[in-house]
Subunit: 340 residues, 6 copies
């Protein structure tokens, strides 16, 4: 029985070593990741009973995906086995002015072809307190959007808190499709995570004065986005991540939580990037952890931001940090002195 | 203008290092291969102008596939660019009693979704003397089978020799489908390559007294298969490869050529396997090379068998040997003494 | 609730890459293994609910050991966390006439310093049907031998089948110590696994006419050893593994099961070795699996031997094979032909 | 028929992994590179038909050099095969205050021992629009300088634009030798690329107020150098690269183009270095590309500088970027946000 | 006969590749290091005859430790062979806000269990001019502290200069134990190296106004610490290293030497960290070298600081730089321009 | 003062990983080796004081060569530093019927250009009992042959035993040159090592009935060769190695010693090859060791053969085995059972 259930796709991540470009690679690091899976691993690393729900083929590549989650303590017993393929994403790590590049090869994956009957949400939600998904999952296809809706309704029925990270993916669907589908799902969502771009692309919610590509951030704009989201969807809380991208190596990272009453901004961190993928997911996990523990709004946003700040220093999608490590950073660590 | 044109799919080959099983791998060797591509590379290594025809996406993974061929001198200028994905096969290398294992993830690849208008065979066959394909290509889908038929007809029209390696793949189609489609294509084929299992599974041509799994070989049976193939399809020549599998590490390897008159058996080699994939393709390339050079039937089968014997000692799908190296083995080398 | 519980030490295994000697290595493969842990992983790979019981430090090296088990589905929730260090063994892989070499650095490990109160056997054995340990565990120290005795008594009390692999380690204790301690434990054992050398070194049970170093095997001698073991300790069954070592690369492998009535010899396999460590443990796991499934004596010994035959083709201590793969070998596979 | 022909040496580049020093390395990355080869690869990556001309041994190391170029689409059919050795350079990557270190082992290479009759410039220049070489090529020996002169004269004869990157190498020749030889060659050069140090060391052309080691840059000084070069050698254009070296990890990078009328300065980029080698060559390729496309002077210098800015983020000598990627940076990219 | 003798422990250093966390690693870089061993290697790289004294097991892991020193020219003939194990430290490299982490597994090592009779200091000090140890060595156990005292007394007797780097390790002993033991040893010390934290933790010597974790440095405070140390223990010189830790990637590094008369501050370097371990040891080696050469106090502190600045750019514990490289940095290098 | 001095060239050995062919490699293992250096390392591993004499450049590649010897205990203090380059050999490991391939790039190395005054043989031979060189050294050039002659004369003068391994290299000189130069040197040689091919190619000494390429061995022929060598050059002993090459993976290995009175044949070993290079050198080292220890002729040939049998199981040129390991094989080991 898992306290937190996340639902989505876990993909094989194929990445050239170091800063090699795709056309130079003769070996690919083969790990696994995906928005909701990343959240589940992060929570397991915080010692939360977390289950990840998806559909994966019975063959060895599917098994390796399962094993990648079990290894870090995620409950994988609710995963449906079947289908033909594990979705893939190719990742080339950027440096300096050269951006990281992702090529998706996820069409036709087992979860993208899943059916309602593949999942028994009554059983899945047994003992659950929190359900999390991202905007990527319903974008996989109408069938998956429908399953997601079923899950949301069932969660609501059972009094489970529902969180959603908007996570707009332009190669999976259009803003129109996203707006319509996500709008319906948001009816069941309690906590929404977004960055400014997501809110705009999915719901047309804009904050003036912010230039995403240039990386300029605007605190008032973020407040406005969070308020609009919260008001439109009757949220309990909306969290906005604030990334300023100086280069592929150096970003500033901060976040804001609007709890319906006040706006809580976290400290801002200058991060030297080891692996930027999964940054948002680690934020979501930190947020869920802190809210489950009953942290204050300010402590919540500081915990979530510090957790995701640390993620940027860790290879692969998964955020391998403990609660103690996050708290050490919140408490003023971060100078990077050797811990003996 | 290429002397030899081969047509088919080139896939990304993802293989754990050494003898690691799929579930142990955290890195995958990323090379490229596929029946007809392997033949083209082998011919280019023999200094034959060889072109490989396929369809590949414009993105970097598609580009890497093109580059893998260019690197070894294959003409890639006739490749159509477009489509979404590069087909994949996962390869786990066997050892001792544990067999190698292949998991295909090739559905929906650019070539599998190609259309007749993607290929201008008049242009492709400009200056061509030999056209080669395998039974895998038409198995990719009816559309590809149709393209293959167009190519065969055009080749015949232009007096180009056509060769086909039966290469039955049970996960791509049934024996019934294969028999029907391949039967139609064989009308245009001059030289057929097969092993006993292919001939049986595709055309129901059997040779009594041979136990494929047990690896027992029967010379009379092979003669019978070659004669039946030749007679049924009016071939100029039929070549049968003879593999005795003692273990995943040790095989015996030989072959036979029936030229419509006589049966020519090659020497048999006890091979210690480095990489067995592409063994049949390297045989095909050796056969095409020798026939293009006008070798006698016996010299032809010896060259093709020696070339493919050496392939078993080379990592990845491609056979990186020169004509001189093959001839050295034919001439009695093979003791493996250091060449300084 | 685990069907099978195994108890012992899991060590960090540090091994140079390929055939490098210790003095050449600048990198060490870092995996985990140990007799009873290996059995648990193998059973989990057979889809048996298997738990491994030990004590491991709370730090990241201890956590990595836990993760290595979780990854393959072993229940690690019964592991006690505490102590200072994870035991280590350095492994250098042999080749040809050069033997593999093991250097142990396991003194002072968390499990070697464990106390009775670290383990609540009532809780551990909840729902358990089979308990397994090896002669290595009691050899870690009198404290661990005492814990082992407690476990055996509790298992007997609960009607749990107890199996023991004698596994004599001369660097951990003398034959005298081993004989005395193991003798007391054998009172509770139902199924004993040994090779001829173990039986001799621990209990002075000899079979004439066998030369262990020379690798000559003697069927009658093995029968005699099994009968003596069974009679002296009132066993339900005794299994003897039969290894003929031709070189570090090539061994013959077979086994015999005495069920108190008949002697059942398995097929013998000529194995080309990838990694020989854990061969005996994989045999034990196969035996436990087959007996839990109620296989006949002959089917049991064939399954156990085939499972362990395959282990020799797999890197690291753990045997990553499925029931289907073992059965395929039992049913006459083993020629190593590619599985597509 | 290649639009652009470059002529020079391609060397085996042997580099320890990551930041290891030479004395620590047990493996060396083995790639290929050299000024003019780097330019040819970069142009091929821009989809320009580019041929590289050199002499390389027939053995496998020579073949591997050819393959490294073919892989990325460079025309290698004009390369002369023969001679004994492939030149080598050992590269140790610097970090922070520790500089990168190059040890050359190129004496006696096939190209360094080449003769006039190894190259048929009439054939080589068939269809060519642009000929490029660097100051390294004539420095390989008087024979190579003579070949270079022959090529320049033939190019002039055929109305081919000639560009030269001064690239002074103090370990190959003295300033005196360089000045004399390069002076003669410059008679045929249309476009000259240099940095301030080259202009000084080769032709004694100085710009006051610039401290190369300290990395202080002086715009007026650069203008003066470009004008002096242009005036003395009747150039159509002179381009000066402006590097400010803060550390082995961090440089500022910009450039200036003097088109005989105006001085065009590019944007300046703060680059975080992955691999600095080939930075100048990638600038040359960008310049040639832009001039071939008829870009304006300002667009030309922006394109060349952005192309070479990106090179600093790419491992090995070759600049693997597309025209679209360069244009994205020119158009205001560079914040390094992930491209999905 | 070695000019400089250092005494202490050399450990096997096991470190995940790159920035991988412990729980992600499947391979560990296996090198060797330890305070005094690092000093010896650094001195050998400066062409000083340096011997390292310790006790190491006779097995291959012990031999590999010896070889790691011999490889770089350290005299290992005075090492006592015996005992059971080589101490280990696990090192996880930090990045950005995530600190590096060290897990020690050194209890029970051969040197930690050594006895007085394992070392013949008369023989060891034959021809010696300088003896160096750190506060880690006596912390290994009372037996080792006693051996250290014997060595110090003998050194004093022979007129050998004695230096000590305080190097407080809280996991080896308490401040109370350290203060008592080190206080006794300091009676024989001529040159003391410390950072502010060491002086405080071992001797309670504090400098107001400095915040170690925040990385704020205070020149007056450092002077005060050096003066207190010198006065209390009648030192000839005290050197203080000044690290400001901005993140795990970026530190400022400088040092100060108090020669009993004046305070000499070095230049401060902004270092981009490749490997921070051994930074202090490389400073010690630089100091010893400079003092042995009779450098002025200012030149001494500049040399020692530059040497240790460069260490931060070098993988593993050992500082592989030459005197010429250090002098180049002292003389104004550091811009990281490629050395060809 | 070294007991044994060997003189020759040590080269950088660049080898693709595993069984990759040269044209596939993107990384090269970078170790060092060469006939006489290999002998010195092997002797150092036997705890003999062995010095290697050569000339090596002062740069880091030369230093790395020195370090590779120091690491294993070879005395490198007699090496002359200077010259430009370290000789290189590229090694591609063969498998099955595909032979290993060596490409030399050693012309112009520091030792090949050395002069008489680079070596002070009086100093070098101080305390020496045995001098060893191979036929490769004088083949490097007349200058090196002259130095070799000087060394031989000085050795004779001092009563030092001189051994020579004929080691004919056809790419360095002709049989005529070899015969003349080696004939002059043999005047000073006491112990000669050869295989049948060497004796024939250098001195025209033939043994009928042996087919080297086919690997057929003929005991009588070997006796004849040894006797002819001994008689012609007044040797104390002649040793002949007997290799039967079944494939690149499997050889039989034995040897014979003629002591002027009797012919002593060793056991024959069926070796499964890990790395065959340096096999002959390890034999020479075993022979020198055994003769220095005063072993009987039969014990000598058994020791030398067993030592070199083990070499075939060890990666790189150097034979990392101890006297105890060799003796274990002589005493009947070789079954490859794990040593715990």
């Amino acid at each position: 029985m898992a306290q937190v259930v996340t639902f989505g796709e876990i993909m094989l991540r194929l990445a050239p070593e170091g800063y090699l470009r795709f056309v130079q690679a003769e070996n690919l690091g083969a790990t696994f990741g995906g928005g909701e899976a990343n959240v589940a691993v992060s929570l397991a690393n915080f010692n939360i009973d977390a289950a990840f729900v998806t559909k994966l083929p019975k063959h060895e590549i599917g098994q390796a995906a399962v094993n990648s989650l079990r290894r870090y303590g995620v409950d994988t017993t609710l995963i449906t086995r079947g289908g033909e393929r594990v979705g893939i994403y190719y990742l080339e790590k950027g440096a300096s002015q050269r951006p990281s590049k992702v090529i998706y090869d996820r069409a036709g994956s087992a979860i993208a072809k899943a059916a309602q009957e593949d999942f028994d949400w009554d059983q899945i939600f047994d003992g659950c307190r929190w359900f999390h998904f991202t905007g990527i999952t319903p974008a996989l296809g109408q069938n998956v959007a429908d399953i997601c809706l079923t899950a949301c309704k069932k969660a609501k029925e059972k009094g489970i808190t529902v969180s959603c990270d908007l996570n707009f993916r332009k190669n999976l669907w259009s803003s129109e499709q996203a707006g319509k589908t996500m709008g319906a799902l948001m009816e069941y969502v309690d906590v929404c995570i977004a960055n400014e771009e997501d809110a705009d692309k999915v719901f047309g919610i804009k904050a003036d004065g912010t230039d995403v590509d240039g990386g300029k951030l605007n605190h008032e704009g973020y407040k406005s986005v969070a308020k609009q989201l919260t008001d439109r969807f009757h949220l309990k809380a909306a969290a906005i991540t604030l990334r300023t991208s100086h280069s592929a190596n150096d970003n500033d990272w901060a976040a804001m939580l609007y709890d319906g009453t006040d706006y809580h901004f976290s400290k801002s961190y200058a991060v030297h990037i080891v692996d930027r993928v999964g940054g948002g997911d680690s934020f979501g996990a930190g947020l869920i952890y802190a809210m489950l523990q009953g942290y204050s709004s300010q402590d919540t946003i500081e915990f979530a931001t510090a957790a995701s700040c640390l993620k940027h220093s860790i290879e692969t999608d998964f955020n391998h940090v403990t609660v103690a490590e996050v708290q050490a950073l919140v408490s003023g660590g971060g100078s990077g002195r050797v811990q003996r």
